[in-house]
């Protein structure tokens, strides 16, 4: 059991670097991951690629926010921390795999490290092989047995995803709510034939935290631009 907690610690350390890495770096690493998936499971690769493309639209560039003069204001996103993603056994194995790949791609692209609890050997192997081939940073993504998730819920995970049944979803949601500390919402999919979560182009937004950075530039001459606007040159 202690082994799982150690994995959380490793993942948390990996997250710090991953989160600080530029978006383009993360994207290129995950594109390599997607390319590697292609060799083993083309559909999963497509799912991954879809979420990388959609996520890129939302996460790649900071939003420059227009306000009063003399300040720069930017909104950008970062990862929340370590995400716990749980893939349960279901009757819709392929849809479950695709939904989990959607979550996994979105969570990693958003800047999180991932603990993936899954007993789906096919899926695990595909992910593991791709991870090795793409040379994702060490400890960024751990594949762990499904039944380890209750222990990992006790760690300081910052996102949680679940693919499986409604019953487990309810129970998991309550367990998450009862934890001390940070409030973690559950991202889940139980209607696997519909797979609406996997098709949601905004899925990455569920795994981010937003940050704003405001810099007063009047103190250092930034308003020279404003002086220019008031000048004869215009």
């Amino acid at each position: 059991m202690i082994n799982h907690v150690t994995r959380f610690t490793d993942a948390q350390q990996a997250w710090e670097q991953w989160n600080l890495a530029p978006f383009d770096h993360k994207l290129s690493q995950l594109q390599a991951f997607s390319a590697a998936l292609q060799q083993g499971n083309a559909t999963l690769a497509k799912v991954c690629q879809f979420h990388l493309e959609q996520g890129k639209k939302w996460l790649a560039q900071p939003h420059r926010l227009i306000g009063p003069t003399g300040e720069t204001n930017e909104l950008y996103t970062a990862g929340r921390g370590v995400a716990l993603l749980i893939l349960d056994n279901t009757d819709h194995c392929q849809q479950a795999q695709q939904s989990m790949m959607a979550m996994l791609s979105a969570a990693l692209l958003a800047g999180n490290a991932v603990l993936l609890c899954s007993d789906d050997i096919t899926f695990n192997n595909a992910v593991n092989n791709a991870m090795q081939q793409a040379q994702l940073p060490a400890h960024l993504l751990h594949i762990i047995a499904f039944d380890a998730y209750p222990v990992l819920l006790g760690c300081d995970i910052r996102s949680a995803g679940y693919i499986g049944s409604s019953q487990v979803e309810l129970s998991l949601n309550l367990q998450l709510a009862k934890r001390d500390g940070v409030i973690v919402g559950l991202v889940s999919e139980t209607d696997l034939p519909a797979m609406s979560l996997a098709h949601d182009p905004l899925l990455a937004l569920r795994f981010i935290t937003e940050r704003t950075r405001t810099i007063n530039i009047t103190a250092v001459g930034g308003n020279a631009t404003l002086l220019e606007l008031g000048s004869a040159a215009h």
Partner: protein, 1055 residues
């Protein structure tokens, strides 16, 4: 508005002084085009004047350019390092900060930071000035010596340690210090008055004279004000006792900056200004009169103009000054009020019979005035938006000042570095009773030649003080003259044709399509897609008086609130039937004052409200988003129309000060307008998914949202949550904090007026303990938006998750343990202003408020002393008074918790300062603003939501650990950083896990759509309120499949 040309008619000046005074304030932010149209006839030259001005200007410029000594070193530096270049800005950044940094490690890091990014080599040999080339060689060499370049990738901690711990390079540092001193010498006449007098002799021999200005920025503390008083007194004594005599050089004078003599020189503290500052000035003036040293009161920000005139009048009429004729002041021509001020001063002088020396300047705070007006949402600007407009106004004012109606009342002193302005004045004048003024270090050649040409006296405004004090002054001067469009710049730039410099400003202004600068939007239009919320400037009489009168009338009103279900307000019914307990609401600042009554909702009301909201949902969801948005826009307009009423309510129910109340309404307005626009972007999106199927995704409302809002932003957050939920297509059950039910109820009234259908907003006042669980455990609830404490958020989360229902969105904004990090490059005065506001504004009851200040130990003593002194100047008291800085806390429960913490801290940590509470506070829930020095942030186990500041010192080498310790608290809401080192502040910003990071400013007052607000970790779930991602969380995705690509199916790739 009056007819400007009337100022040249004698009859106009026969109006009583009071009547002339009343013409000033209404012009504060008058429409620019209208007022310039009035001023133009005054500024427009006759054909003869125009020809003469152009000719004389041309001659002057030719003479200057022919003069080998014309370009002073500083002019040359400005020419080469214009502020339009990156190097110019970096050079100024370095100059501004370097000399005040006490520790070499931080100084070296700053030098590296500034020198690493610029292309110094490109400036080499562009200039003929030895000084400039020497500087460039030095800068370039320095860049090379430091060996900058792209370092190999390393961990951020390693990078920072390297940055902070790298061995100092004393040679480089000393060289840079020396370079900065050289720059300082160009702008400062002497480090003290004696040195200045001595160095001024050669110019006096040539017939020039001086007005000495003792360097120093606004005083933040009484101790600083006393020091500046002593400086001024010393200057007056020295000037008065100077034995130098000359037939050609008139007697020097002393210029006084009022903000240096009183820590609260502002309209809010008018009573103190007109007594305490009046006394201080009286003492200085008494000595000045004894020694016959003329005194000039400097001009400062536009908001202080009316106050400065009132103070001037009181002093001018006093026995100390009466009969003297050498007490003068400065008027800024860029102010739209300048002309009526001159008219009033002329009448004042005429009435008393004492000459008023008056320096007419163009104005040095232009960029700040523009910024403040935009931030505050004023209807217009107090200054002109084109430089040519200011030049026109200057000439219009000059025309009046040179007229016979003024001669003998006001002695005009024209300060300008513009050859055209100087020539225009010389031509317009039909007498010799005036002088010119220029800044030390600038325009020397211009005035050498102008003096010879026009035979007018020239006074040099000369800063006196240490180089350290020079810096803020220098920055302002450089900003004023450093842009390459400025006259100073173009005068010495031989590439600039002379005829472009002789153009008359009237011609230049009238050649534009519009008098106002269309590139500078009005304050109400700074946002590209929505109107800015309207603000009131209570420092301006014409704005404040009608507003305050409205608020005052409402202070005695009694308000009521009860559940509003399906559009039916139940208060009267509940009151009459005695069904529920009616709460009496009292004012936090005086519990004897009854404000209104509230009937709290029962469990039955909760059931009814949720049913009503469920019933209303289908129709509301189908309502086009444009209609929903229009209702929000209408609501925003109604809120603005009811600004006075909500201000009164905020005073009475929430204990909010005037500024806080106005800001509260403005934020609510901004939320409404912002979400109205955002909602219209939630349009259906069609895209092909990974399975090759093209789908259309629409975002729709989820159902019934519960919105639970806090008391600290009783209108803004209440409406922020509701408006987002509604416009996204949900219906809402809203529960405000029980402490501020009246404000919320009034907002719901306005929602009905704005057209929101009855069932879509259900209002339930009540205690969380009574109805909170019933609300959040109801199976019909489709989501909850909550702002409040972290433990309450956790309880709500459990309540929601305990339902037998699918997980729903829970958007929680919770607490913080907000820090500010200050390194030794920061400007202490700026830091202290921002600390005081961040920690004590709103009595510290903002989620964003500063709780823990980390100061680098090298500057800690000075900064802590300033904080202590600035705290002593704060006024704790009744929130509806303009003078009040800190009002009450929300209730006795909050007060007790805060006092317990203060007691605990007093016993275990070192108290830095604590304000005494005066008699005004005895009947209310007041907590004295208090500051402690503590060992570490870990001493604090929870947030203390009130006016309590904790201070921690740190070593420069521990910066990375400081950030880590802040992260370890688990909270992550706001952070402030003060540093001039971009590498440092960017590193901190990147590594601190906070939602909102503010650099070189205060850390409160996030603006909707500009600084979306919300934290991470224990501080909240996100998404950020007032941000582009917020509305999505209130929606759910509905997918319609459009086209199945058979190929994908056939391939078997898709099951």
């Amino acid at each position: 508005m009056f007819t400007a040309t009337d100022v040249l008619k004698a009859a106009f000046h026969e109006q009583p002084l009071d009547q002339l005074w009343s013409l000033i304030s209404p012009l504060y932010m008058v429409d620019e085009t209208q007022w310039l149209t009035e001023l133009l006839p005054l500024a427009t030259p006759s054909a003869a004047e125009k020809a003469q001005i152009a000719d004389k200007t041309s001659q002057l410029i030719k003479a200057i350019r022919a003069d080998k000594n014309a370009i002073q070193m500083i002019d040359a530096l400005l020419l080469e390092y214009s502020l339009d270049t990156q190097e110019g800005i970096l050079l100024m950044c370095l100059a501004e900060a370097l000399m005040r940094i006490p520790d070499s490690a931080t100084a070296d890091a700053l030098i590296k930071d500034k020198l690493s990014v610029a292309d110094w080599q490109s400036h080499l040999a562009h200039s003929d000035s030895v000084f400039v080339n020497a500087s460039t060689w030095g800068l370039m060499l320095t860049g090379k010596v430091i060996g900058l370049g792209n370092p190999a990738p390393q961990s951020p901690t390693q990078a920072l340690n390297k940055l902070v711990n790298k061995l100092s390079e004393p040679v480089i540092r000393q060289a840079m210090h020396q370079a900065m001193k050289v720059m300082g010498h160009q702008f400062v006449l002497g480090r003290n008055i004696n040195e200045a007098q001595h160095k001024g002799r050669p110019m006096r021999d040539k017939g020039f004279t001086y007005s000495f200005d003792m360097l120093g920025e606004a005083a933040l503390t009484s101790a600083d004000a006393k020091k500046y008083y002593q400086d001024y007194l010393t200057a007056i004594e020295a000037v008065g006792k100077d034995q130098y005599t000359s037939k050609t050089s008139p007697a020097p004078s002393v210029s006084i900056k009022l903000s240096a003599l009183h820590p609260r020189y502002e309209v809010a503290n008018k009573a103190r200004v007109l007594t305490e500052l009046y006394e201080t000035l009286s003492r200085l003036l008494r000595r000045a009169v004894e020694l016959d040293v003329a005194i000039t009161i400097d001009a400062e920000e536009a908001d202080r103009l009316e106050l400065s005139l009132q103070l001037f009048e009181k002093l001018y009429r006093s026995d100390v000054v009466k009969g003297w004729g050498k007490f003068g002041l400065v008027i800024q021509a860029y102010s739209k009020r300048a002309l009526p001020v001159l008219v009033w001063l002329n009448a004042l002088a005429k009435e008393q019979g004492d000459l008023i020396p008056l320096r007419l300047v163009k104005g040095a705070y232009w960029d700040s005035e523009i910024k403040w007006s935009q931030q505050a949402g004023y209807a217009n600007y107090p200054v002109y938006t084109r430089k040519e407009a200011t030049d026109v106004a200057y000439l219009a004012c000059a025309r009046f000042l040179l007229s016979d109606l003024v001669r003998g009342n006001i002695f005009p002193q024209f300060a300008s570095h513009n050859a055209q302005t100087v020539s225009a004045i010389a031509v317009m004048a039909n007498h010799k009773d005036f002088e010119f003024q220029r800044l030390h270090g600038m325009g020397e050649a211009l005035y050498n030649h102008a003096m010879a040409a026009y035979q007018q006296s020239v006074r040099i405004y000369a800063p006196v003080g240490s180089h350290k004090d020079l810096l803020p002054y220098l920055v302002r001067r450089l900003l004023e003259n450093g842009a390459n469009s400025s006259f100073v710049h173009r005068l010495v730039d031989a590439r600039c044709p002379i005829d472009t410099l002789t153009q008359h400003p009237v011609d230049m202004l009238t050649s534009y399509d519009s008098f106002n600068n269309t590139q500078i939007p009005l304050p109400g239009q700074v946002f590209p897609d929505r109107a800015n919320s309207l603000g009131i400037n209570v420092d301006i009489i014409s704005e404040a008086e009608p507003f305050e009168s409205q608020v005052h009338h409402l202070l005695s009103k009694q308000w009521t609130a009860g559940p509003i279900i399906n559009g039916v307000a139940l208060f009267d019914q509940l009151f009459q039937t005695n069904d529920v307990h009616i709460e009496t609401i009292t004012a936090p600042y005086d519990r004897r004052i009854q404000v209104g009554s509230v009937a709290f909702a029962s469990q039955e009301h909760v059931t009814a409200a949720i049913s009503g909201a469920e019933a209303a949902f289908p129709a509301w969801q189908q309502t086009p988003v444009t209609e929903k948005a229009a209702m929000l826009e209408k609501l925003a307009d109604l809120l603005e129309q009811h600004l006075a009423e909500f201000t009164a309510l905020c005073h009475q129910e929430a204990g909010k000060t005037i500024h806080d109340s106005i800001d509260e309404v403005r934020e609510a307005v901004d939320f409404c307008r912002y979400y109205a626009k955002q909602a219209q972007q939630l349009t259906p999106q069609t895209l092909t998914s990974f399975d090759g199927v093209t789908r259309t995704s629409t975002r729709q409302g989820r159902g019934v949202f519960v919105c639970i809002s806090p008391w600290n932003f009783p209108l803004a957050i209440f409406l922020g949550q509701i408006s987002a939920a509604l416009v996204a297509g949900n219906t809402v059950v809203a529960k405000p904090a029980e402490q501020t039910s009246l404000i919320a109820a009034r907002a719901v009234d306005l929602m009905a007026e704005a057209g929101f259908p009855a069932g879509v907003i259900q209002y339930l006042p009540g205690r969380g303990t009574d109805i909170g669980h019933a609300l959040t455990s109801h199976p019909a609830i489709a989501g909850v938006a909550f702002t409040g404490s972290t433990p309450t958020a956790q309880r709500i989360n459990i309540s929601l998750a305990s339902r037998v229902a699918k997980p729903v969105p829970f958007i929680a904004e919770t607490g913080g343990q907000n820090a500010m990090i200050v390194d030794s490059t920061a400007l202490p005065e700026q830091v202290v202003r921002d600390v005081i506001r961040s920690a004590f504004a709103s009595a510290g009851q903002r989620c964003s408020a500063l709780r823990v200040l980390f100061i680098q130990q090298d500057i800690a003593e000075r900064v802590i002393a300033l904080i202590k002194g600035a705290m002593e100047e704060l006024n704790v008291g009744l929130p509806y008074l303009h003078q009040t800085d800190v009002g009450p806390v929300i209730d006795s429960n909050a007060k007790q918790k805060l006092l317990t913490h203060i007691e605990h801290m007093s016993q275990t940590q070192r108290k830095v300062a604590q304000l005494p509470l005066n008699n005004a506070c005895t009947e209310g829930d007041f907590v004295p603003p208090t500051a402690f020095e503590i060992d570490d942030i870990s001493c604090l186990t929870q947030e203390h939501f009130g006016p309590i500041l904790h201070i921690v010192r740190f070593k420069a080498s521990e910066l990375a650990q400081v950030v880590e310790r802040i992260n370890q608290t688990g909270f992550g809401l706001t952070m402030g950083i003060h540093s001039r080192n971009e590498t440092t502040y960017r590193w901190i910003e990147q590594h601190a896990r906070v939602g909102n990071c503010y650099i070189n400013r205060d850390q409160v007052g996030a603006v909707v759509g500009v600084q979306p607000f919300g934290g991470q970790g224990l501080s909240g779930t996100g998404p950020k309120a007032g941000g582009p991602h917020y509305l999505y969380r209130f929606t759910e995705q509905h997918i319609t499949e459009q086209q199945i690509i058979s190929e994908a199916k056939a391939s078997g790739a898709i099951s």
